[in-house]
Amino acid sequence: MGEIISIDHLLRAATALQTDTAPWAGTLREQGREKFAALGIPNRWQESWKYSDLSQALAGVPAGTAVSRTLPCLDGAYVAFFENGVLDISRSALPDDYLVPLTDVLADSGSPFAGTIGRINGTEQKNHPILGLNTARMEQGFVLRVPKGETLSPPLHVRVNWTMDGAESLDGRHIRLLVELEEGAEATILETHGGTPGFATVVTELRLAQSAKLTHIRIDQLGGDARQSAVTLGELAGTAQYKGFYLSEGAYFCRHEALFELNGEDANVEIDGAFLVTGNSHCDNTTIITHAAPHTTSRQAFRGVLSGASKSAYQGCVKVRPDAQKTSAYQMSRALLLSKDARIATKPELEIFADDVKCSHGATAGELDGEALFFLRARGIPEEEARAMLVEAFLQEALDTIERPDLREVASGAVRDWLAVHATEVIHAG
């Protein structure tokens, strides 16, 4: 049993931050402290954390199921390399024209980002404990700004890797990223998380100005003992486009929230996701898409492959504000349960205050289709192979939504890798 992790414990290190901070950053951190102290460590009695009890996860002792994996790499890309929560410039290839390390931003009393950090999608930030904690202790990270009309090329690969012992970082390591795309700017970002943090929070704030376009691939390949709570916050102006793909393998505690607000007409958010979870892992995908302007559209589709005694959750919420007429929102969640002990909780929520809208959601959970299996076996394909084929096909539909071939290959590679490592769980109905 490790030490008891308390609110104080998690906040204490905040006073020991190393860098000089500008007054605005100090105030911001103080607000974060207050927020976290008031809200506390989230537990299952809070509605949004019903299926992800962080308080319990911090008190628990993981079983020690570290699997070493080759983490994906994107050839020719810019790289922001984080080792144990610290931006390692020597191992990075940063787009210097666009990117400033967070430590520099926080120390700059006249920083142009002073009014942006901690302000993206403010409604959802307001009562969010992880945002409070992360803001209180943020130090490492970066700010990326792509000026009007420009395109970040090649893409940026944000590699977050943890090599330190989990127990060492149980008091929390916090990364903060801010991405601002000015009018008409475009960027592609690949975010990968590997290793075993004792407890990490990663907050990514995204601001997309008029007509900006962001492609965002997130891959969580954490070790089985890792605890991570990540939040992606986004704000989109008119005709801006966000296209996200989230792949997660779960961990001892693994949660990612995508909280977006569509503020301008014709803004569009599309999120596809896949989660592959086995063993005793936990995986939580939570989304809140707020349609705050007319003619906005969103689409979400998540697919889960669950085996072992894993516990997964998908909570997707679509909110339509009163003036957001002509909104169109679609949400789909499909879960494949491969073992008798795997669990899935799905909560596709609609909260609608405008009448001229088209919103729909669908959710299914079940095992592999017996008829499809029979079809393949009747053609002489052994059962194990047939099962693997069906699982791959199920995931392929999600992977196909990634437009760039190199990124699709990275994600497909991660999926193939997972399927190879966990072949036994997948092909044998346990």
Partner: protein, 487 residues
């Protein structure tokens, strides 16, 4: 459309036709809630000691509980100390026949369109279509018809207070086994103070010869109604039960916190239909009933079936989740619901399907319609337990929005712990299709009628599940509830 609106506004005052108050002298328990009041209620009913203890235990529990706040409902706190927990029409104790019932009371039920008088029914309707009625007025059951016919078949249908006196073993065996006294804030309150309701017992192998029906009426002001219904269907029996509710038009909010428990043994089937038309408050959101109801059915035996059908048009606030616990293998649960909110009404309603047994099936069809400034939420849970091999669920919840001031929300929880269980859920939210509306209008159908037509079409899947007598009434109700929502 403005023309239609004008006509409607003229009739606005008459919209809730059950809003009258009957001038009937009532006997009240002292205001507020205390052990004395509970003892008073229990004594009024000549209850045995165990029943009083049961109530007191619930009361003690209730004092430690808090009002739930998770629903998407917004209403001022209810002052539980400022209510009458017992009100009974004054009169002779226990009328033996209809002749002994206060004529004013009979008149009230006549206005409500409830054919209480046996002769009336006998004259007009074929015996097999007869409906046995238990009428609950404020806190007591006034009259139950057709007792003899039912007794011949072995069916017990009587006020629960009478059942406690005459069939204590049965009541004791089942009361609180589906909704325990500790279940939730309102159910616990009900357990402490419930004053009447219906008791139904269908013996093994019996198909109840007629529809059973209860009409609830809150008449006295400042009164909470807490009725308790217990229905037990023994092996291979069948019963269809209807429930209707109305209340006078009053400016203050009235409280209704009922508990309904259903027990279906092996091969039994219970069909429970509700047309809830409590006073919804006026167009400014003043007055109306707060409806906090716990309804739950337990499919205790294999191959049993429980089906809930509800048409929710009334109440200022509705908090209601009729549920099924599918314990027996191959048991089935169904939930068909129409919830219509207009003006400032708020409804947070849905169901829970808890699959415990093998090959259990459930089906949820929910249609929510919001108009005016109302808020309508579907909240549901489907849970597949690890032993529910081969279980199936299908859920469909559709919402229709009329006007840009209202809200429609869907909050389904889907939890599966069994891979062979299949869960399917789909939901849509949209407004009335302009194409459909145009089609009707261009054929000379006026807007109100066209909307009623389209909405009835939208609700068809649920309306079809209602027994004949109710289906017609419900269809009309759908039209009336939406009056004034066009534009």
């Amino acid at each position: 459309m403005t023309q239609a609106m004008d006509t409607l506004e003229e009739f606005a005052g008459q919209k809730y036709k059950y809003g009258f108050v009957s001038d009937i002298e009532s006997e009240f328990a002292p205001k507020g809630l205390s052990e004395e009041v509970i003892r008073f209620i229990s004594a009024k009913k000549n209850e045995p000691e165990w029943m009083l203890d049961w109530r007191l235990a619930a009361y003690q529990r209730w004092q430690t509980m808090h009002e739930p706040a998770w629903a998407k409902l917004n209403y001022p706190n209810v002052d539980f100390g400022d209510l009458y927990y017992y009100a009974a029409p004054k009169g002779k104790e226990g009328p033996k026949s209809l002749d002994e019932v206060d004529p004013e009371l009979l008149e009230t039920y006549k206005k409500l369109g409830i054919p209480l008088s046996e002769q009336e029914i006998l004259a007009g309707v074929e015996p097999k279509n007869r409906v046995a009625v238990d009428a609950v007025f404020d806190s007591v059951s006034v009259v139950t018809t057709f007792k003899e016919t039912l007794e011949e078949a072995g069916v017990i249908f009587c006020p629960i207070s009478e059942a406690i006196a005459r069939h204590p073993d049965l009541v004791r065996k089942y009361l609180g086994t589906v909704v325990p006294t500790s279940d939730n804030f309102y159910a616990t309150l009900n357990s402490a103070v419930f004053s009447d309701g219906s008791f139904v017992y269908i013996p093994e192998g019996v198909r109840c010869p007629m529809e059973l029906s209860t009409y609830f009426r809150i008449n006295a002001s400042n009164t909470g109604q807490f009725e308790r219904t217990l229905i037990i269907a023994e092996k291979n029996s069948y019963v269809s039960y209807l429930e209707g509710c109305t209340a006078p038009q009053r400016d203050e909010n009235q409280l209704h916190a009922a508990v309904v428990e259903l027990v279906a043994m092996e091969g039994a089937e219970i069909k429970y239909s509700t047309v809830q038309n409590w006073y919804p408050g006026d167009e400014n959101g003043k007055g109306g009933i707060y409806n906090f109801v716990t309804k739950r059915g337990d499919c205790r035996g294999d191959n049993s079936k429980i089906s809930w059908t509800q048409v929710e048009t009334g109440s200022a606030v509705t908090w209601k989740y009729p549920s099924c616990i599918l314990r027996g293998d191959n048991s089935q649960g169904e939930f068909y619901s129409i919830a219509i909110t207009n003006n400032y009404q708020q409804a947070d309603t849905g169901t829970k399907m808890i699959h415990l047994g093998k090959n259990t099936k459930s089906r949820i069809i929910s249609k929510g319609i919001s108009a005016g400034h109302s808020q309508n939420t579907y909240r549901g849970l489907v849970r597949m337990h690890s032993k529910a091999d081969g279980a199936r669920n299908f859920t469909q919840c559709d919402s229709l929005l009329m006007g840009d001031k209202c809200g429609a929300h869907t909050v389904p929880y889907i939890e599966s712990r069994n891979r062979s269980a299949m869960v399917e859920h789909e939901a849509t939210t949209s407004k009335i299709s302009e194409d459909q509306l145009f089609y009707c209008l261009s054929r000379g159908i006026d807007p109100e009628e066209a909307i009623a037509l389209i909405v009835n079409g939208f609700c068809k899947d649920v309306l079809q599940q209602l027994p004949m007598e109710f289906a017609v009434e419900a269809q009309k109700l759908v039209g009336i509830s939406l009056e004034g929502s066009v534009g």
